[in-house]
């Protein structure tokens, strides 16, 4: 096992900068998600760490050892591919044995290790099957067993759950996490599914256009996004744009919004505030609550009922805000209803304007 350090990594394909000066420290034993839209460079970064492609500049170290010019077969990594890439001409057992067999391990050792790996992914009895006789979830487990049986220093997963249906995906998320904890391997996981990134990883790196936008624990990125992109890509956010007042922003119509967190900005600069939809309380009267709370008036334009919660779209002079309310009772607001929105400054993040 080993940590992975990526420093100032750049890689271009022609005029396209697939990776632009990316630095990330993947801690030993951690579960790390690389999240981004397609074309953000997350897969390019994974392939660089794997060794399928070499960087134009920058450094990659696995366990402190520089590997950026070492080809994949000498890097001692384990990789799980999006479509599993099981060898169709081999049985499940031979697939898992492949990595040990090309290293010239003794037959008895191979048989033992293969059985242990198959037991770990709960496929102990299916060693004799062919890949095409397995379900999607089982193929996924075989791919995982094959990747970890060689005791790699780091496990790389390229959208491994993308081909599974939703229910199976949730099962596999839990399973993957269990196996990762059990063997304590440093894991780097590429996904475009924000929920998967939030629920599975210790840390998340968000990439966009080949650059690392933000990096940190899921709670930190969710609660303290540093850019509008990070705020809207990981979870949902209402964005207000205006000028900073030092403690918040003033909207073009003069309304002040207080922010309790985020960047320290000089008064007068362009800036935005981000608020999560579930942090906003919605009511029909102005009432008398916290005088420090941010307050806006608007009108419900649409309501989407989703069982345990409802999403309200509230119009406020040219801007539509999204509010998510847990359905703790049966009272509901009708479309067209005039409402008051309130949320605390602590739930408001100040972001430097772009």
């Amino acid at each position: 096992m080993a940590g992975v350090q990526v420093s100032n990594l750049s890689r271009s394909f022609g005029a396209h900068k697939a990776l632009d000066d990316v630095s990330i420290d993947f801690a030993d034993g951690g579960f790390y998600a690389l999240l981004g839209p397609s074309g953000s460079g997350k897969t390019t970064l994974l392939r660089q760490i794997a060794g399928f492609d070499f960087p134009d500049s920058g450094r990659i170290a696995i366990g402190g050892e520089s590997v950026e010019r070492v080809p994949v077969e000498k890097r001692r990594i384990g990789m799980v591919f999006q479509n599993y890439a099981l060898f169709p001409n081999m049985s499940v057992g031979d697939n898992v044995a492949f990595g040990l067999s090309v290293r010239g391990e003794a037959k008895a050792t191979i048989a033992n290790e293969v059985q242990r790996a198959l037991d770990l992914v709960q496929l102990g009895k299916l060693g004799g099957r062919r890949p095409h006789q397995l379900s999607g979830g089982q193929r996924q487990r075989v791919a995982l067993a094959r990747a970890i049986v060689t005791k790699p220093r780091v496990l790389l997963l390229d959208e491994p759950l993308g081909a599974l249906d939703k229910a199976l995906r949730v099962d596999m998320q839990i399973e993957l996490k269990r196996i990762q904890r059990e063997i304590g391997i440093t894991t780097i996981f590429v996904t475009h599914d924000q929920e998967e990134a939030l629920t599975m990883s210790d840390r998340i790196g968000i990439l966009r256009d080949g650059r690392l936008v933000q990096e940190g624990p899921p709670e930190e990125i969710y609660d303290r996004p540093k850019s509008e992109f990070a705020a809207t890509f990981l979870g949902d956010a209402n964005i207000f744009r205006g000028e900073t007042t030092g403690t918040g922003i003033r909207l073009p119509d003069g309304t002040a919004i207080a922010a309790g967190a985020g960047a320290a900005l000089a008064a007068g600069a362009k800036a935005s505030c981000a608020v999560r939809p579930e942090r906003i309380r919605i009511a029909t009267d102005s009432g008398t609550s916290d005088p420090n709370a941010n307050m806006l008036r608007g009108q419900v334009s649409k309501r989407i009922f989703a069982g345990n919660n409802s999403t309200y779209f509230v119009d406020r002079g040219g801007q539509t805000l999204k509010v998510i309310v847990q359905n703790t009772g049966i009272e509901r607001l009708a479309e067209g209803q005039k409402v008051v929105l309130r949320w605390s400054p602590e739930s408001t993040v100040l972001i430097a304007g772009s």
């Binding site: 994949v72 001692r76 384990g78 060898f87 090309v102 290293r103």
Partner: protein
């Protein structure tokens, strides 16, 4: 009901007509190789006399062995070279690759008569001349494009992640090729090899240009024999070859499902 029956009946008739079209001449020739009359006269009287005569015809037998030897060597050389070329074209990007790929296929369309003439002139110019070695070179050149086309078609169905997966597990280039890529393309390699064998074994035009009286192949020898005067030994040798090559084809088809998943 009635119409479906008629359609079914038509379908069966069609298949039988097709088979008759393909096999009737061959079957008649095979029967005549066992007929006493050398002039295809009926009634049919059984004999193995022509096979006995064939056994004493040294020229025909030596030409048959030449053909078999050349076909086997051609198959081996062009299958190995062609598969390696297909793999290289599949894996690597290099300058002039598109041109090279485009130039590989016209030789299939060039009439063998023209290729044969060109080879004769060229081999004379460079000092190789005529004979079995010249014939072998010519056959390999004719068979190579077929092998490359067939193996490349099979490679198109190969998932490149399989090679990447093998490499990520520590396999070197040789292990990747021999344990992952080759097993996948093997049906294509076998099919390509069969094509190469057929191109060489059936080859008349190019062999005719490149053979000398002592060093010749079976099709050229049969042609020469027919010009001297037809004998039923030709029927006999043709029948033997048909039986052997059909058995070979059926065996291959039995063990390798071309194109499909194994």
């Amino acid at each position: 009901m009635a119409t479906t029956r008629i359609l079914e009946w038509c379908g069966r008739l069609y298949i039988w007509l097709l088979l008759a079209f393909l096999y009737l001449p061959v079957i008649i020739m095979a029967l005549m190789s066992f007929n006493v009359s050398p002039f295809y006269q009926l009634p049919f009287e059984w004999t193995t006399e022509w096979y006995a005569l064939l056994w004493q015809n040294d020229q025909l037998i030596s030409a048959t062995w030449n053909s078999i030897e050349i076909a086997i060597i051609t198959t081996i050389i062009s299958t190995v070279l062609g598969s390696a070329a297909s793999l290289a074209l599949y894996r690597y990007e290099f300058r002039g690759k598109k041109v090279l790929q485009a130039l590989l296929f016209p030789p299939i369309a060039i009439p063998w008569l023209i290729t044969g003439t060109a080879m004769l002139i060229f081999f004379f110019g460079v000092g190789i001349g005529r004979g079995l070695f010249a014939i072998l070179l010519g056959h390999v050149a004719l068979a190579l494009p077929y092998v490359i086309v067939v193996v490349s078609a099979r490679l198109q169905t190969f998932a490149p992640e399989l090679e990447e997966a093998a490499r990520s597990l520590g396999a070197n280039q040789w292990q990747v090729t021999s344990r992952v890529t080759l097993p996948w393309i093997m049906p294509g390699v076998i099919a390509g090899g069969l094509f190469a064998f057929a191109v060489s074994f059936d080859q008349f035009v190019v062999s005719y240009f490149l053979s000398t009286p002592g060093q010749t192949t079976l099709p050229v020898e049969i042609y020469a024999a027919i010009r001297k005067g037809f004998t039923p030994e030709i029927n006999a040798v043709s029948t033997i070859i048909i039986v052997v090559s059909m058995a070979l084809m059926l065996l291959t088809a039995r063990f390798f499902k071309f194109g499909g998943e194994k």
